[in-house]
Amino acid sequence: MPKISVKIDDKDLEVEVGTTVLDVCRANDIDIPTMCHLKGLVDVGACRLCLVEVEGTSKLLPSCTTKVQANQVIHTQTDKLKKYRRMITELFFAERNHVCSVCIANGNCELQDLGYKVGMENVRFPYLFQNCEVDSSHSKFVMDHNRCIMCTRCVRVCSDVEGAHNWGIMNRGYQVRIIADFNVPWGDSTTCTYCGKCVDVCPTGALWNKDATQGSMQKYPQAVSDLVEKREMKS
């Protein structure tokens, strides 16, 4: 692949054409927080945590869906970006009911880790305290909408990797919800294959195995990334 030159955070880099800004940063130890991104899944730029500043562009661009251009000058750690990342994190916590102390994912949660990472000491926005359902109708798994941040990893892994299309999205704005089939209880879904990939990629305590308990729950998003990589190598 042909290579181009870019400058990221004052580092001059030679990168392959067609690479995303996020991939370049990760390959060069430049830390950018993400929630909706997962290696192996198609990026959708939903969480907005990975926004970067590109000189010559007035808008902030999501690094997971932005491909590097020749001679671009990119900034990933400005005060403005750090401010927005913390604000976005606070909005995640304010939108639904994330109570880490009693959450099944406590200690094994990407959202919790993100809170520490961006230095979130408090939430400055009023909590919405939405009345969200817990769907425990499935024989193996639980879907807790209280903990969902709409990263849509579950939707993408189910359609793109498993090919089952069990998960979809309903409504817009703060009423948006992940749904099984045409909004049926997960246990009544006719498309779910019980594979558990959605549970493994979920970054929070929204999807979990019924055998799991607080402190012992482990998720394996990397397993899905590895699976996709192996399939690509085979093909």
């Binding site: 406590n106 019924k210 402190g215």
Partner: protein
Amino acid sequence: MDKHLPPNTIMISPVTRIEGHAKITIMLDDASQVKDAQFHVNEFRGFEKFCEGRYFTEMPAITPRICGICPVSHSVASAKACEMIMGITVPYTGNLLRRMIHLGQHISSHALSFFHLSSPDFILGWDSDPVKRNILGVAEKFPDLARRGIRLRKFGQELSERVTGKKIHIMGIVPGGMSFPLTAENRQALLDWVPEAIETTQMGIDLIKKYHQEHHQEVSTFANFPSMYLGTVGPQGEMELYDGKLRFIEADGTIAADQVDPKFYLDYIAERVIPWSYLKYPYYKPHGYERGFYRVGPLARLNVASKMKTPIAQKEFEQFKAIGQGQPVHGTFYFHYARLIELMQAVEECKTILEDSQVTQSKTQVTGRHNYWEGIGCSEAPRGTLFHHYKTDASGKLVNINLLIATGQNNPAMNRSVLEVAKQYIKGKDIKEGVLNRVEAAIRCYDPCLSCSTHAIGQMPLLIEVRDHQGGLLNAIQRG
């Protein structure tokens, strides 16, 4: 100053050196004599309501947040309720570790109650300077005793930390057993600590017994009134702090009900809502509301038990029983002595558990699924018998939760104790701070756990007003 306070009323708010927030109101009659007293718990938690809709296996992680002092008891009762729903039995090692952590919580809680919260009254004096009547004041005068008390509490917490990695609000007590095993290294570290823990507990026992001797009249009459008692016992009637069957005794010591499976608790206990407190009034159902009030906790457990499980505790237990001369010991002040005897059994039993060859086995948990729709779990919390009762829908989501907390069961008795002490010490409108401390101390005997808040230092502001029947202010005492 509360302008809405009824006339002839004394209010103590907040009650200090207890866990949680409460206040006391004492009503005087026209002759300025104590007419009635009410112990108000003025905080609302709402766990029974907001846990509705959660999946049942989450409860052992949610309910410990009720309290920062006795979270393990909630975890244990909750996990047992879940195991009844699943229909599973905990493996031997899992049960051993749970028992040990639960005993560890008793050790830390009882050490906190005695050395941090109550001992300042005995050691420094009821009427000593309130600014120094706390653990720091004790540390100033008796540094070795204070240090040992603090270390004993630490030992209790260490029993949790060495298994689960956390001292408070541990993760690991789960439906089916324990998530984490105990390593051989941690087992040895805990065993090495046991002799010091026994020695410190014995110091506490000697201290309270000396106080009993020197203040016999005060101790024997302090809020001394007959009541029923409830506690957990083993198959031979031995005192149990973790798992067993319920025993109710009458005020004269006769057994009212024995070897009752906790899952039938509703056949024996009913609750009534009262207008002045968020705590309900539980009572022994067969006797009805008027006659059925009972006490739980250390005094109750020793009163109902036939014997202790360990040798040093048994020796003290025999002396405790001698106080009652064949009857239950009703004096509220003896809660402290009973608490220390329990503490001794807890430390000794931990030693036995740690010496068990299977305590470091790796098989600590079994798994199960939602098989039944209802589960009841019970444990002996430091403050008394605790019940968790869950009902679920077909998918395992909780539709009804009943938590019967130890302090709630002592509510009628605490009210009665305040009244008894107020009658004994408050005569007319001239009230000294030390007298009010005695009224608070009646509550402190029960070591009530009103929430997860802890106020170990006892420096909170306190305002007491005495008003005549016209509402006029007769006297006001303020501290803090």
